[in-house]
């Protein structure tokens, strides 16, 4: 769980979604993820919500924080840690 302003953001174990809790009312709202999340971050300067899916190869979903989270406002980054792999000499 992470906090930003009047909201708390959290991911759930065992389900592919995350929740935003209005701390003033206690009202939770669930939003879908492409896969189960492990950690969630709020980047206030960039107005982004970043979900780390905890995959060994690196998988992240980024939502535009200025809009309600949905598939239309999200972009999924997969196998991030394999970037430029062909240019590296491997053991």
């Amino acid at each position: 769980v992470t906090f930003s302003g009047p909201f708390a953001y959290g991911v759930f174990r065992g389900t592919a979604d995350f929740g935003i809790f209005d701390l003033s009312t206690g009202h939770p709202t669930d939003y879908p993820l492409p896969m189960e999340g492990e950690r969630i971050f709020v980047l206030e300067d960039q107005e982004l919500i970043l979900v780390d899916h905890g995959r060994r190869e690196g998988a992240f979903t980024v939502f535009r924080g200025s809009e309600e989270p949905s598939m239309d406002t999200a972009r999924v980054f997969e196998n991030v840690f394999l970037r430029d792999l062909l240019g590296q000499e491997l053991p």
Binding site: P34, E57, A59, E78, N79, R83, G87, Q88, E89, L90
Partner: protein
Amino acid sequence: MNWTTRLIGTLAACGVMLGASAAVAQTTDGGEDVAAEAEVDAASSWTGHGVGIAVRTGSQYETDPGFDALGDANAFPAGGAVELDYRLDYLGVDGLTTFATARWTGRSAERFSGQTDFDWTRGLYMLGAQYGPWEFGTFRPLARLAAGYSTQRLAVSTSQPTMSDRTHDLAGMGSIGFEWLTPRGFIKGAPMRLGLLGQVGYLAQTSAEFDDLNSESDDDWSRAALDLGTLPTSGVFWDLGINLVYEW
């Protein structure tokens, strides 16, 4: 299957075919005279035209670090190749042949303790010409040049949906080799010749840019493409093969 096993299999197949063609050429009484006469007739009637079909297999050597993702060995199977050639001796240039070749190869590897699977395939399609003077009418050394098109596909499978990309490049080949054919008239009753082929050379190709691997997932999430980098696939290669030539 390693390269020694492929070589033995290729040579064994050639031995079986040559043995069968020798049995066809044999006759009863006066067989040697008939065979010699057939060979003379076939040679004198040849107008310089001929088409051949060949199959080849071999290996290519690759030492660029970019290939480390596809395995530890510095060589990969050059795969299988099919060639069609057309003899141009009727133009007055003895031993000149044009050919079209299609070659397919691939390599798969598990890396990072089996967590990541790479699957790479390549298809080469080239046109070329080869020249070599005939020695004793059955054997010749060859110099070969070809150029054409290459397409490669690289797929990466992890705990996430498979991502893949296909590239299109230019390719060229230069090699020296040999061709050995059975004498004309050896196969009685048919203007056909069986043969062995071999070559060693260098395959040059523009580097494949695998910078747009897209997910094969069918859900509605927008996914960013993956840039794996550049994979150079030029290198020294060799192959052996067998061919069948029809002349008229």
